[in-house]
């Protein structure tokens, strides 16, 4: 099916099932229980999971396959967001043309930036992409304010033309992004006993696009083109002396991953129609590098896992504050409770970066293959145990 090998197909099916049932899977705790704050099944966060999944999948096509580490990919995400918002302002609130334009614009930008940056490799390439991204960030923040909205960001207004749509709704409001009339923000709620689950149009739209992106990435990984990209990473010298021109291959990979980033940017703007320059800052570029490495560079599923992991931490850990910690440890004697809370406090709330940093170091040092390697090790460990058990069971035959 879909012209995929068995293992790849099962991976695709697993990802499809997980994303389709995410509203259930991410909401394991009853709505009014103490653990409810660990629920991640609300639309805003779920959308972020899949959008950053798209971003990381695309980044992995460049970094994972060719080994070229770009530190400026957030620039393409930002460009994609601006393009989508402009489409909302000028054309209509339909997300389809907006997303198409964001992919195209990001592709054009990555073609130019890639063409220049790929003249160098290794650390110099990384620095060049970083320089380009920071330049674009600075321009968007200041000089290009008429196009980008500068510090406030690019927002929709009541007097935007929207040629194919309406400037304002009958009630005098700015219309919201939709797909052929179906609003992105509309949701259906399902209450099952103490649990409640939200099914959001925007989430499912993003999830479907992520599945398509994932499928395309699998095809690229398994294609002759993907093999050439791995050859670029492995030995460019041999490649050039084998009659292959490595430059167009790396440029193509760069443009494809730039287009993925633009797609992610367009989706972001479709969920919340505003775009700010901070999306292009180098910290945002660094984040996708972290996601890819944390999940597993060069693996298919790794970047998606990494994106989910980091976004979960960012949104859930950062919400825990000292009051919540005191509640948790209320059963302990006062002195001990305060001590424990004080010890844990730097790692939660605004300190979530510290926790993430420590986790990142642990992964890089002990699991260089990222979470995927971790999963494989656990799997292997279970299999070994299973194998041992079955042998011990069969030996006493009497």
């Amino acid at each position: 099916m879909f012209k995929l090998e068995k293992t790849d197909l099962s991976l695709l099916v697993i990802v499809a099932v997980l994303t389709m049932f995410a509203p259930f899977i991410l909401n394991p705790f009853p709505a009014d229980s103490a653990m409810a704050q660990f629920n991640a099944g609300y639309p805003d966060l779920m959308q972020r999971f899949v959008i950053f999944g798209v971003f990381a999948i695309g980044f992995n096509i460049l970094f994972g396959l060719t080994g070229y580490l770009s530190f400026g990919h957030a620039a393409f995400l930002g460009v994609g967001s601006y393009a989508a918002v402009w489409m909302f302002k000028l054309l209509s609130m339909n997300v389809v043309p907006a997303i198409i334009l964001s992919v195209i614009v990001a592709g054009l930008f990555s073609l130019v930036i890639g063409f220049v940056s790929l003249r160098r490799s290794g650390i110099y390439f990384s620095i060049l992409t970083l320089a380009f991204a920071q330049m674009m960030f600075a321009l968007a923040y200041s000089v290009l304010t008429p196009i980008t909205g500068g510090e406030t960001g690019l927002q929709l207004a009541l007097d935007d033309p929207r040629i194919l749509g309406v400037s304002q709704t009958a009630g005098g409001n700015i219309p919201v992004p939709s797909i052929f009339g179906l609003e992105m923000r509309s949701s259906a709620e399902l209450a099952l006993g103490a649990w409640s689950f939200t099914f959001n149009v925007g989430y499912y739209f993003c999830a479907l696009i992520m599945l398509v992106s994932f499928y395309v990435a699998i095809r690229i990984f398994r294609s002759p083109f993907g093999m050439m990209l791995r050859a670029v990473k492995s030995n460019q010298q041999r490649m050039n002396y084998t009659g292959l021109n490595s430059k167009p291959y790396t440029l193509a990979a760069f443009v494809i991953s730039g287009m993925y980033a633009g797609l992610a940017g367009g989706l972001m703007a479709s969920m919340d129609p505003l775009a700010g320059a901070e999306r292009m800052q180098w910290t945002a570029s660094g984040e996708v590098v972290l996601m890819t490495i944390l999940g597993g560079v060069g693996t298919l599923i790794g970047p998606v896992l990494g994106a989910g992991f980091i976004k979960y931490f960012e949104n859930i850990f950062s919400k825990i504050n000292s009051t919540i910690l005191h509640e948790w440890f209320a059963f302990l004697p006062d002195g001990l409770e305060d001590l424990l809370v004080n010890v844990l406090y730097p790692f939660i709330g605004k300190g979530w970066h510290l926790t993430l940093g420590i986790l990142f170091m642990l992964v890089v040092i002990y699991l260089p293959g990222g979470l995927v390697e971790g999963g494989q090790r656990v799997n292997g460990w279970f299999r070994n145990r299973g194998a041992k058990k079955s042998t011990t069971k069969t030996t006493p035959a009497e």
């Binding site: 095809r219 083109f225 093999m227 492995s234 010298q237 050039n240 002396y241 084998t242 009659g243």
Partner: protein, 251 residues
Amino acid sequence: MGILEVKNVGKRFGGLQALGDVNLSVKENSVHAIIGPNGAGKSTLLNCLVGKLIPDTGSVMFDGQSVLGRAPYEINQMGISRVFQTPEIFGDLSVLENMMIPCFAKRDGAFEMNAFSDVMSQKDVLEKAEHMLEEMNMADKRHMHAAAMSRGDKRRLEIGMCLSQEPRLLLLDEPTAGMARADTNNTIDLLKEISDQRDITIAIIEHDMHVVFSLANRITVLAQGTPLVEDDPENIRGNPKVREAYLGETA
């Protein structure tokens, strides 16, 4: 008229005249060895042939066409394959994939955006690569990580990769450097087999006289950037000039 014609090639690195005035003609289907003491300019000459360096003066013609100013991949597509001193293979890829890449390069040219078909569905390339692995006696290693193989096997794979492109000229840069005696002899046998069975010209740069005299049917001796003599192996052996270049004047 040889398949490779080098005329008046000179190359200078700052104050060092690496190649003076090199003339060389490699005949089709011959095995031509280029020998010379350290610093004679053998590697510089080779790099001028494959596009890594551009000579300051002179011309390099392959099969009637100039190779000067062309990128290494273009020269390779013209029909010149190069084997490196330390085997250059795709270490992160499997042996089969290593063999498939040159087959793709032969079929599709320097760049082909073939991003949606499965590698394993490219039956012609797959068959050719499998066939080549069998010829190289490496079929049982096809799923091995190329980097995990022994030095001798890597060399064998590299030569096989070059041959799968069906080159007209195979350039070898000290193919047995750093090899054990047994591996060296295996490589000699392999190269002999290749030159006997295929329609191919081999140019070889080598230090090891044992390798040179077992393979070559024409030898050029380089010394200090200029060709000293070009002759048949029998005559080179006894040539006093060659002895002098290698062993010093007092020898």
